[in-house]
Symmetry: C2
Subunit: 205 residues, 2 copies
Amino acid sequence: MGIVARKEQQKKEIRQLILDHSMKLFVEEGFSHVSMRRIAERIQYSPTTLYLYFKDKNEILFHCCESGFKMMLTANISLSLISNPIDRLHQMGKNYLQFGLEYPEFYDLMFIQEAPMDRLIQMGEGWSSGDQSLNALKIIIQDGMDQGLIVPAKVETVAMAVWSMVHGLVSLAIRKRLDKLVSPADMEQTMHDSLDWLLKTLKKA
Amino acid sequence: MGIVARKEQQKKEIRQLILDHSMKLFVEEGFSHVSMRRIAERIQYSPTTLYLYFKDKNEILFHCCESGFKMMLTANISLSLISNPIDRLHQMGKNYLQFGLEYPEFYDLMFIQEAPMDRLIQMGEGWSSGDQSLNALKIIIQDGMDQGLIVPAKVETVAMAVWSMVHGLVSLAIRKRLDKLVSPADMEQTMHDSLDWLLKTLKKA
DNA sequence: AAACTTAATTAACGGTGTTAAGTAAACAAA
DNA sequence: TTTGTTTACTTAACACCGTTAATTAAGTTT
């Protein structure tokens, strides 16, 4: 039994090796340059070996996606120090923008590409990391309403509105759609201004 | 001279033929299934013939993109009948959501894919259709502020915020990221609720 | 009729995700 | 210890993709 356990350990190690180098490829050379053959080349294995550890490319992307969500969650741990719901929501938004601009390739994978979602839908359930962030958003908004700081409304509606705006900002920026609205130099600032504006308008008068 | 003119006319007709069938492919089989070879197959030409009429695939995508913007503009002509800036902005948002949900493949091309923008950046200038919609948005917001209906702020900031939210809604929906927040049956309604909520919060108290 | 121009083609290159078949080493049973 | 079997991996191949170069066939000009 000791042998079979060690074998499983080795299998896990190679799985992780594949994922690690996949993520490195994202960051270093961009999402579009990540192919099964390139990943294989990096870890000095044949391309087909990857299929012994993952069903297909989507499964690899999905796991990289998961890592992205974990990065996002760890960036948000300091949020618990902020007690005021509005301030916490504001900081959460800032973190979201910062993450998107700092790791555009990961953001792409997590919120824009359809490949990882195809895998997710295929699995049926789960996506704990993603749900977790979403729940955190809903709870903050609910808290804000309970404390009379946010104009009351259906939580899902406001959550969707807030998330959509920050996602809209990041995804339009990543896909170069904001260039005609503001100069590249002012872009990041204006994005944060828009977030500030939302938070201000959100507050109960 | 008559002959050379007719030749040019024919060249334009084939160009248009390529674009028409490309757009049909989008609508009928989805963006991912549009390849040079598939387009060529549809118009009964060899794949390489396309390169006699367009520089590369991005150029075809860019022109399809342009057609998408024209569709959007014609959907917005009735806006001029609405005098109240808030109402006009609201209807503009509704039209935006409707367009995105009705023609997701076109929306994808216009606001999500990077291919058409690469072509645009390569050309340096232009993109009149896109700029036109953006200007319309800015003018409405400016009008609203001038008439004291919208809380005053920098126009670019509010325009970016509003656009980002509706784009966020559509793109998250298209990329299946809203499924965990609301059930598919309630999605369209909740998206409109979020838009309504924004317009309500936007109004000057 | 010969020379030239144009429009379209076939063949090919290097790339992609993925599957099937083959190989060599490690292990199990005789 | 030798035989059979499982395991880990590779090579070869398929069917696509965007794109370029070379080639053919038709039409126009001289």
